[in-house]
């Protein structure tokens, strides 16, 4: 297992390096100049040249890239062009816990509802219950959050005008503000997790060892939860790992429409502004998170499934 991890770490390093390179080049080669954007339509050439120099944008791209990597190796993500005097890390660090908490709760809620629903659907295979569950969860999964949110808003506004207790439609600060984003995020997760659990359970339930367990007279409940369910969870692990990584960068639509001050909130604006340093910062953050979570997923897999360890 040691050499396996070492190999994975090495390749992770390569992935991250490529990531910085591609992000850097795509960012800098895309049309749009952060200095021009910040100067507005008044392109006073002297000021423009001076600012480009001060931000190091007049150097050749490779030199800019090298100095960026140099900073990165020293844990310096650089300075934002737009937010005066604030480092990228300073901007990112307040958003990470917010995105993580909202996304994490959304995932946990999704698991708490999705797994039981999936198991029930599998057990009641092809019944009305199964079909209703599949239909509903598929609907949740298929409807994007930018459609779910306005629907939720309409409901809240209706309740509001009817004088019923309601939730805030957007914002941040109190526990009530968590409800809407978490539920919206959970909705998509529920759809996905339910279907995955159901399919995986169905497959496992036809396996010989399940039949054996049943035929030796074990109670149904025990067969399902101890024998089938455990093995059916394996594919879920693969899914949850990377999902956790994406929690950190947040859910773009949800954070922007519901005004949740997470990472996505910041990223969208940075892209519009060509705030290269921040875009790179958030991309690398995501890259690191994905690499780490994939590694952890692989390790979890090995622990859960001895067959993988052998191969």
């Amino acid at each position: 297992m040691g050499s396996f991890i070492a190999r994975r770490l090495l390749s992770a390093l390569f992935v991250l390096f490529s990531l910085t390179f591609i992000t850097f080049m795509v960012g800098h080669l895309a049309p749009g100049d952060p200095i021009l954007i910040l100067m507005g339509p008044h392109q006073d050439p002297t000021t423009y040249a001076r600012l480009r120099h001060e931000y190091g944008l007049d150097k050749p791209l490779w030199a800019q890239y090298l100095s960026y990597i140099w900073g990165l190796l020293h844990g310096d993500l650089g300075l934002s062009y737009r937010y005066e005097g604030r480092s990228v890390w300073d901007l990112i660090k307040s958003g990470v816990p917010v995105s993580f908490r909202v996304g994490g709760l959304g995932l946990v809620l999704g698991l708490m509802i999705g797994i039981p629903l999936g198991v029930i659907a599998a057990i009641k295979h092809n019944s009305v219950v199964d079909r209703s569950i599949v239909f509903l969860t598929l609907a949740f999964y298929a409807v994007p959050s930018f459609v779910l949110i306005p629907i939720a808003w309409e409901i809240i506004r209706f309740m509001n005008s009817a004088g019923l207790p309601t939730l805030p439609v957007a914002g941040w600060g109190t526990w009530q503000h968590y409800v809407l984003p978490v539920v919206i995020l959970a909705a998509a997760n529920i759809g996905y997790i339910t279907r995955l659990t159901r399919n995986s359970m169905l497959e496992v339930l036809t396996q010989d060892y399940v039949r054996t367990a049943r035929s030796k007279g074990l109670p149904r409940r025990l067969v399902i939860w101890r024998h089938a369910f455990r093995n059916a969870m394996l594919p879920l692990v693969t899914v949850i790992g990377p999902s956790v990584a994406f929690l950190i960068t947040g859910a773009f639509v949800v954070e922007n429409l519901l005004n949740v001050p997470g990472i996505a909130f910041l990223t969208v604006q940075s892209i519009q502004q060509r705030d290269y340093a921040v875009i790179q910062g958030t991309t690398i953050l995501l890259g690191v998170a994905v690499v780490i979570m994939n590694l952890l997923t692989d390790m979890a897999y090995m622990i859960l499934d001895p067959r993988i360890r052998v191969s």
Partner: protein, 590 residues
Amino acid sequence: MHRRKFLGLSLKTSALLALAACGKSSTATPTTGISITGPTATPNPSQPPSSPSPSPTTVPSASPTVSVVSTPIATQVSGAATPSVLGVLRWANTGISEPSSIDPANPKDAQSILIINLVFSGLVKLNEKLEVVPDAAESWKVSKDGTVYTFKLRTGLKYADGSECTAEDFAYAINRALTPTTQSFAAPFQLQDILGAKDVASGKAKEAKGVRVIDKQTLEITLERPIAYFLDLMTFPYSFAAPRKLVESGKDWTNKAFGTGPFRIKEWKHNQSMTLEPNPYYWQGKPQINIQMPFIQNSETAYQLYQTGQLDITGGGQDGIPAQEIPNVKGKPDYKEVPALAVRYIGFNNKLKPFDDVHVRRAFAFATDRNTLAEKVLGGTVHATDRILPQGIPGSDLPVKGLEYDPDKAKQELKLAGIDPSSINVTLAYGQEGDNERVVEALQSMWQTNLGVKVNLQPMELGTFSKNLDVTRENPTKGLQFYLSIWGADYPDPQNFLSQQLQTESPNNNGHWSNKKFDELTEKADIMSASSQFKERLRLYNQAEQIAINEVGWLPLYNPLVTALIRPSVKGLVLTGQGIMAPDWSKVTV
């Protein structure tokens, strides 16, 4: 002169920064800087238009502020016995997740400028009619040649911490904004006309020669050349006073910023909101409210928060009320709209056939049904106009006669041109953004139906469109035939629309329209700096505008709208094309 790209929406400086900032929603609401006092919210103290003072040089404070000016500051501070619990005005700052920088020397978007205008103040400001009125300076004099401005500061002017603010502070502010280490993106341009400003901006000097402190209360600013809109430039944040001690206290000094404006920052929760509390020493009197200002990325979100009672104000800036919600609120008492200080127009290449002929241009103008365009095609989300100056720019209250929709006249004009309509085959270029597609299709059908000509449409990516305008300017025979464009005010002055856009030699005159009389009138008006000449100056611009309309220098179509929702219980605020303003912050209540 600078060369400007006016693509999407150009706007006034502040706005323009913002605009630039907002890659996304270019069309709907141009950020245009400045504009109009709308027939909106609070009744302004109804004053007659500021009359020129009898003495040629002294500027009497224009209209509504006069009474305030004469009130000694002392009484106001002592009179600040306020109710112990202040009302809270919940005001959405929309289109951002966090203001870029509220350092007045270096704001980068309109949302930051909104805050800067609440916390800091300059020598002069714009009133709700977008006229320049006294702020920290109670009066000023302009030399005969229009190059020396002498500002007299208010006695007892104080920062929100009670410390004194003197002429020295304003000199420091200007020099600091220009200094390279401040890294201001726009100050070197905005303040470039001050004598010696360029030396400071290039690092050759520490202080601009043209900025002189005469005594504690007197600041003299000398310009390189007379520019009649100089005071308009001084209403922008770049010259606003900020306490030196605070500024030099560290990079994050803006977190607790205060100045000589009506409010000071109480708390700034980054990426979330800001709380502003009254400045007890504000010269106009201590405000009676606190402001709670959440930063809201999406204007639809802000709208929903307003509708569920979580906000008192939303809109008023470049991200106004979402267009799809306007039908739901139009006509309600809390919905306000005013035309923005921007015009969408058709420009003609006067060096190419057939638009080198004034009769052809007039034919197209008469064949354009702007009301149908504004009301039917764009569903009332814009304000139809047949003149160049947007409503609200000084001088826009002087009447002009537009070329109103008249298909018969249109055909007559084509006859006068002696051109067979069926031989006209022209191509209209436009940038692909917002509603442009719908606009050009409607125009195409109007012109084809009313004139019997053939009109082709040529969509272009915005950057390409901008480049083509440059080509049209540099090399007209290779340029566009005619095009749909937009211009937004940099500052609320007719010069910005007429002289800068249509004078023969102006670098912004992409269509090469040229009229001798127009040039004479505008060149004369451009240097009339003395306030006593203001009316005459506007009259000259008015004559010039009429010429440009008759000869179709531009074919104006419509002004975008600035929209806002303001709870009717909030008193004392006015929506202008420049955003939401209070004639007197001490009288604003919730």
